[in-house]
């Protein structure tokens, strides 16, 4: 590999990207195996699906704004909520987050690419075509029976509703295939990331000197490797049921509907950690840089993340309290779920410890990170409430649960995705995102988020079930739902500011320079955007903050480690 680098440098100097005709440039993106381009394509694709699935959510909120609104039919509502939920998890959350890891991990470990670049491209295209299948179901879902259109079975698709007898047409088949393909693609990415972290680190970067983000990337990749296969296996079984007449989840032939729930949630709960650990990883890089302090408790942070991943494998049945498990089962899963709060608490204290006494700079990435901290704390608290089985019996399948998981998914994960975009956009494009529009984006989105999802907790406490397309007036739900729907307008306005900001910056943004935030990890040591080969000479590392050492030769980190 090292032998070919002169060749690659010469090559990339020769091909002047900007002068290529548009088709030629598109071709370059299609055939690329470069981890940075693939990472950006994941993020870009994920953002497009974010807008589409967001519009679907907005349509649902429009229908729910007033009682008996009658804007969309019940079947349409069911399809919207299924496709929205599925898309947000598999087409938005996972690709954006793995896209960032794809982009950042090789740069942060001082490597020129991932371990298997072609596998990486394979995973991306698998993901993209899988994603398109989900939306293609709107056209192809009718099938020969002329039934249905898009899938309407909910994102966890409980059996036997998904069996041929109850779900006719092809909508559920598209749902299965879409998830199967995207998760095989994600598994490929995870194998690639894990191998790269073990085998591609630059000289001097021992495991103890890796940035925390890279540690968390390893933990997440491991988690993906063990929780995506159960999902794929369950989808394969369902596919066999639907096409070959097998009976895995066919209750009429003795099959079990509960088995599907177990298989799904064995994946489904850890999936939350697959999504939230990369968000933690971004916080671990951003908070120290904007507090001008090293991260508080590096090894504790890493250990807590490993513990979280481990515990998350043993809590899945807290999604199944209402099934009627044995008391021992309820007790076990309630207790194991509460255990999660220990490593989570440790992490929150460590982030606060990092900020404590630091010279905090409230730039946009830091603002989103602080929002994340507060909201994640609240989401964790409602989570602990739901871990109490009797409380859950009362509130499961109500809007309290919807509010709880959107607090995690938006309040924590989407907020950190935005933080990461503002933080690394300058590296990827060479341009800064605007500060003023960024502030508009942050405040509008924050206000809208709280208007929508704070209120929905109370809708749930008052007994509003989830997955209903309308409700009766005069039950104490009217005002709550109206406020929640108005919040969506604020969120949408925030997203609009973000889009304008991105387009403006790409056209005429302030040049970023190599290291606009005065940061410490290796990606900031190369140019913005980095050349195809990342580093002309592979870096040599002596501490956890190689760039600090470079900028402060009088007081390098390695003296203290």
């Amino acid at each position: 590999m090292a032998g070919s680098i002169e060749h690659r440098i010469a090559l990339s100097a020769e091909s002047d990207h900007a002068s290529l005709p548009i088709l030629g440039r598109a071709h370059e993106w299609v055939v690329t195996v470069d981890h940075k381009r693939l990472g950006l394509m994941y993020i870009g694709g994920g953002l497009v699906f974010f807008l589409i699935a967001g519009l679907q959510a907005a349509t649902m909120r429009l229908q729910l704004a007033i009682p008996n609104a009658g804007i969309i039919a019940p079947q349409v509502f069911n399809r919207l909520l299924t496709v929205h939920g599925t898309a947000m998890v598999f087409l938005v959350g996972m690709p954006i987050l793995t896209g960032f890891l794809n982009y950042l991990v090789p740069l942060m470990i001082g490597a020129r690419d991932l371990a298997f670049p072609r596998l990486n491209a394979f995973g991306f295209w698998l993901w993209l075509f899988g994603s398109l299948l989900l939306y293609f179901s709107y056209i192809g879902g009718d099938g020969l029976y002329g039934a249905g259109s898009a899938p309407d079975v909910g994102w966890f698709a409980y059996a036997p509703l998904t069996e041929r007898a109850f779900s006719r047409g092809n909508s559920t088949d598209y749902w299965i295939l879409s998830i199967l393909l995207t998760s095989v693609g994600s598994t490929a990415t995870a194998i690639n990331l894990l191998t790269s972290i073990f085998c591609m680190r630059c000289e001097g970067m021992t495991l103890r000197k890796m940035p925390v983000l890279v540690w968390l990337a390893a933990v997440v990749s491991f988690l993906m490797c063990v929780v995506l296969p159960p999902l794929s296996a369950a989808q394969a079984m369902l596919l066999l049921d639907r096409f070959l007449g097998a009976h895995f989840f066919d209750t009429q032939a003795g099959g079990s509907a509960i088995l599907w729930q177990h298989f799904f949630w064995i994946f489904g709960h850890p999936e939350v950690y697959v999504l939230v650990l990369p968000a933690f990883a971004f916080a671990n890089e951003i908070i120290p840089v904007f507090s001008r302090k090293v991260i508080f408790g590096y090894s504790v942070m890493v250990a807590a993340s490993c513990a979280l991943a481990f515990i998350s494998l043993g809590v899945w049945a807290h999604h199944m309290f209402s099934v009627g498990m044995a008391p021992a089962g309820n007790a076990f899963f309630a207790a194991s779920t509460m255990l999660v709060s220990i490593p989570t608490g440790i992490k929150i204290f460590n982030w606060i410890g990092t900020m404590w006494g630091g010279k905090i700079r409230f730039r946009i990435p830091m603002m989103f990170s602080v929002g994340f901290l507060a909201q994640f704390l609240i989401a964790g608290l409602t989570g602990i409430m739901l871990a109490v089985a009797p409380f859950d019996w009362q509130l499961t399948d109500t809007y309290f649960v919807v509010a709880h998981f959107h607090y995690v998914l938006i309040g924590a994960i989407v907020f950190m995705i935005f933080a990461a975009i503002y933080y690394w956009f300058p590296k990827a494009t060479g341009k800064m995102l605007g500060e003023r529009l960024g502030k508009w984006h942050f405040w509008l989105f924050l206000i809208g988020f709280h208007m929508t999802f704070d209120t929905l907790h109370f809708a749930g406490l008052r007994g509003m079930p989830r997955r209903i397309y309308t409700y009766q007036p005069g039950r104490g739900l009217d005002t709550i739902n109206l406020i929640a729907s108005i919040g969506v307008i604020f969120q949408a306005a925030g997203i609009l500011m973000f889009l304008i900001n991105v387009i403006r910056s790409l056209r005429s943004g302030k040049p970023a320079g190599d290291d606009p935030w005065d940061a410490w990890t290796l990606e900031w040591s190369t140019s913005s955007p980095p050349p195809e080969y990342n580093f002309a000479e592979l870096p040599v590392v002596r501490s956890r903050r190689p760039l600090w050492d470079l900028k402060h030769p009088e007081d390098p980190d390695w003296k203290y480690e």
């Binding site: 001082g110 591609m200 490797c225 159960p230 040599v540």
Partner: protein, 204 residues
């Protein structure tokens, strides 16, 4: 554009100790992680099999139609030994011996697939057990079939290496890649032990 030159070993920044580590090979780590994922994938099918033991609403039942495929099992397990011998020969540089052991592995694997095919033929045409007959049929064909699929993939790769060997392309430099393939083969054999115990011992 600095492009990272400043932080490399060649620059003025060269003070301080550098901890060196030797990194493992990509192929080996990659296959180990793949084996990890595949193990989880298989264990879900095993779980489904075990969960549905004795829950059939109709026959045929495992105890009526299944006989442990002893010869088949011996063949597949001994192919793990022949592939080790093949790898030893390759590392010692003896391509001829490598070819012979490799061919033996291929033959044993093919024998296993023929045995499975005959078992399935008997079950389908004589005992009238298909994937849609009952829960036993559903779980049996998927678990054994999933394993057979992995054997088939392994056999195709082994055949490819066999062709390269016969065309004279094989030499000691390919030992590592071939070894990675042999790890996959060992994994497939190990899975068979689990499948055998689940289907033919516990399940009967």
């Amino acid at each position: 554009m600095s492009a990272g030159a400043a932080i490399s070993g060649a620059s003025a920044y060269s003070a301080g100790p550098v901890e060196t580590t030797t990194l493992p090979s990509r192929g080996r780590v990659g296959i180990l992680v793949l084996i990890l994922t595949e193990s989880v994938f298989f264990s879900i099918f095993v779980a489904a099999y075990v969960f549905y033991i004795g829950k059939n609403l109709s026959g045929p039942l495992p105890k009526d139609v299944l006989a442990p495929p002893i010869v088949n099992t011996i063949c597949l397990l001994s192919s793990s030994i022949t592939i080790v011998l093949a790898m030893r020969a390759l590392q010692a540089g003896s391509i001829r011996a490598f070819g012979i052991w490799w061919l033996a592995t291929l033959a044993l694997g093919i024998e296993f697939m023929i045995g499975t095919a005959m078992e399935w033929r008997r079950l389908i045409y004589i005992d009238h057990l298909t994937i849609r007959t009952n829960l036993f049929g559903t779980t049996y064909y998927t678990l054994v079939g999933l394993h057979a699929l992995h054997v088939t993939i392994g056999l195709i790769l082994i055949l490819l290496v066999m062709i390269f060997t016969m065309m004279g392309y094989m030499n000691r430099r390919h030992a590592e890649r071939t070894d990675v393939l042999s790890w996959y083969w060992h994994f497939v054999d190990a899975v068979w032990v689990v499948v055998f115990i689940t289907v033919y011992v516990v399940g009967r």
